[in-house]
Amino acid sequence: MDLDLTEEQLAFAAEARAWLAENVPATPLPSMDTEAGFAAHREWEAKLAAGGWSVVSWPEEYGGRGAGLIEWVLFEEEYYRAGAPTRVAQNGISLLAPILFGHGTDAQRERFLRDMTDGTLIWAQAWSEPGAGSDLASIRSTAKRDDERGGWILNGQKTWSSRAPWADRGFGLFRSDPEAQRHRGLTYFLFPMDAEGLTVRPITQLDGTTGFAELFFDDVFVADEDVLGAPGDGWRVAMSTAGNERGLSLRSPGRFCAATDRLIDLWQKNQDQDPFAQDAVVDAWIKSEAYRLYTWGTVSTLQEGGDIGAEGSVNKVFWSELDIAIHQTGLDLLGPAAELRSASAEAGGRWVDDYIFALGGPIYAGTNEIQRNIIAERILGLPRGGDGRKAS
């Protein structure tokens, strides 16, 4: 379809495609959630940065190209089509950086942004706690003021902290005002993962790798310079990340279009004559197209000054279910061999691993049940309550 792309935009996409064709490793890297894989992915980040492709939409002074949204979407399409490695730096680049740009101090931007573009600084996120999952505002980990040293003392436990086993720094919310309830009195901290008193216990995930970990804070000191935004204002600051994670930045259409292309290749190889399998492949294609076109529509809206708002929740429910449907169909096409992790590496996909990865989609970044509540209440205008949730 004619998207009204300019010559410059088409040239930009072509340049990205050529660089990726030249540089994407021929053999997929080991999973980034293993020690060796993490290191290999860190090196890939350095290579991307050297080519100028790590953070295309960032300002040039921080290692970006100052590219617009359209260029960003084009780059992501090329990136996934090329089968390039998963971004181990994603927590920092997609979740933290937008907040640093919006709420950080000049000093924080100087200290952190450039280092996170080339794999020097990889971030873990630390949102959830054992008692605070979907109900994130019930956070109980504490931050106590230490005026003498000019900072805060963190105590408590975080969990499902992605990239934590090998990350360099982490970010998360702590309750700095013990009297305040729920969304109030929370502060956003940036802390080194090797801080004294911080214990990292990796958690083995469904696929056998350790993508996330539990964090135990035992009187961990964090200096004032590592507070992001104003003390007590952490919820508001963090929610600008959550919107980002749910919305446009985390899941570019490239990911689903590329997976659907692999699914079509798999169908061609296997020539399954089952009409139901054929319909499932067709539906994956229809929905990937819908997602691609929807994203271009969102780009148009954003460019005309609109915002995504609660639409991000509609988006998240759709892509997370699409991701599972694509990979479930892939496993169906593989038949009995689908159980074998090695045998499932066909048509450019690692169907078992990709399927297990997709299963996390409806859970992380706000479960799909929370997203549906948001859709019902903020988009459809249905009343809150009736289910024991406290008013926010």
Binding site: M1, D2, L3, D4, I264, W267, Q268, Q278, D279, V281, V282, D283, W285, I286, K287, E289, A290, Y291, L293, Y294, W296, G297, V299, S300, T301, Q303, E304, E311, V314, V317, F318, E369, Q371, R372, N373, I375, A376, E377, I379, L380, G381, L382, P383, R384, G385, G386, D387
Partner: protein, 328 residues
């Protein structure tokens, strides 16, 4: 970018809403379903004055010279109000297939025409409103006589078998294919409009109806079903827009099919959910919900079933894959 609806398109949609609402909104469909065709004729005249019947006709031929995006904007409103009448046939399918004199009469509303496409749209809609009927095949058009009206699942639609009543005229197969795709796109837009209305009705009811001392819209059991409808409709919409921009290009057919599948599936989900939210009151003919509940099923099976459209996509993206017979 072409993805944002223009001011003119917004104005067109609002003008259509005003015309239909000035005639009582759903009262028009309600009357049609009770056998009174007068309000449907009055609506046709007013929409013709607005230019809707000439939307897809060149300005030189007395039409509006509208784009396919204008078409989906307008037809979404017709679906939203469950407007009765052979709009797809007169305004989207036939204009490019009939002679210039009739084209002009269709544009100004002085002629109303319907059509059957054997194996695809087997029955002609609402011949009782029409001055002309046609049988359209892949490469011809034949004037026809309409048989007795038969009941549709949708009481506001009457279906007719056609028999040839004149000489066939040859048509360019590409022109026929394009005209059918245009009408199919219009049907997808009507489905989307009906789906949006069903969601709106269900949400409004869920905010009013109380059980166990609270409005039923507070319960997550309903909230999540309604949210799923919002998701399905939101992601059907860009496919319609994409198909409108693709109409007449090499990928036009499969884009059209994707739009029809997504709009049908989303509208049927909206219908099932809206009925469930309304409960027994929705299961009555007396309640307006029945207008869209049944319209959605009529439109989902007309203009190519989802099975047919999925097979058309398969034939485009998978090899080898056979296109099913349209009526399958």
């Amino acid at each position: 970018m072409k993805f944002v609806i223009s001011e003119e398109q917004r104005a067109l949609a609002e003008a259509i809403d005003q015309v239909i609402e000035s005639l009582g909104g759903t009262a028009v469909a309600r009357a049609a379903s009770e056998g009174d065709a007068a309000p449907a004729r009055a609506l046709w005249e007013q929409l013709a004055e607005l230019g809707l019947l000439g939307l897809c006709i060149d300005e030189a031929d007395g039409g509006m010279g509208g784009t396919p995006v204008d078409l989906i904007v307008a037809f979404e409103r017709l679906g939203y109000h469950a407007a009765p009448g052979p709009y797809l046939e007169s305004a989207a399918l036939l204009p490019d297939l009939v002679d210039p004199a009739l084209r002009e009469s269709l544009a100004d509303g002085s002629a109303i025409a319907t059509a059957a496409i054997p194996g695809f749209v087997p029955y002609a809609l609402d011949a009782q409103l029409c001055s002309q009927q046609f049988i359209v095949t892949a490469d011809s058009i034949t004037p026809a006589e309409a048989g007795e009206g038969q009941e549709s699942i949708d009481a506001a639609r009457t279906l007719h078998e056609l028999t040839p009543a004149g000489p066939a005229a040859a048509l360019d197969p590409e022109a026929v294919a394009l005209a059918i795709d245009r009408a199919t796109l219009g049907s997808a837009a009507m489905l989307l409009g009906a789906g949006e209305r069903l969601l709106e009705e269900a949400v409004a009811y869920a905010k009013l109806r109380e059980q166990f001392g609270r409005v039923i819209g507070e319960y997550q059991g309903l909230k999540h079903q309604l949210a799923n409808v919002r998701v399905a409709l939101t992601f059907a919409r860009p496919l319609l827009k994409g198909a409108a921009l693709d109409l007449g290009t090499p990928s036009g057919e499969r884009s059209m099919s994707a739009a029809k599948v997504a709009a049908s599936d989303a509208a049927i989900l909206a219908a099932r959910t809206a009925l469930q939210v309304h409960g027994a009151i929705g299961y009555t003919q007396e309640h307006d919900l029945s207008l869209w509940l049944t319209r959605v099923h009529a439109l989902a099976s007309a203009w190519g079933t989802t099975r047919y459209h999925r097979s058309r996509i398969a034939a485009s993206i998978l090899t080898p894959a056979a296109i099913l017979s349209p009526a399958s």
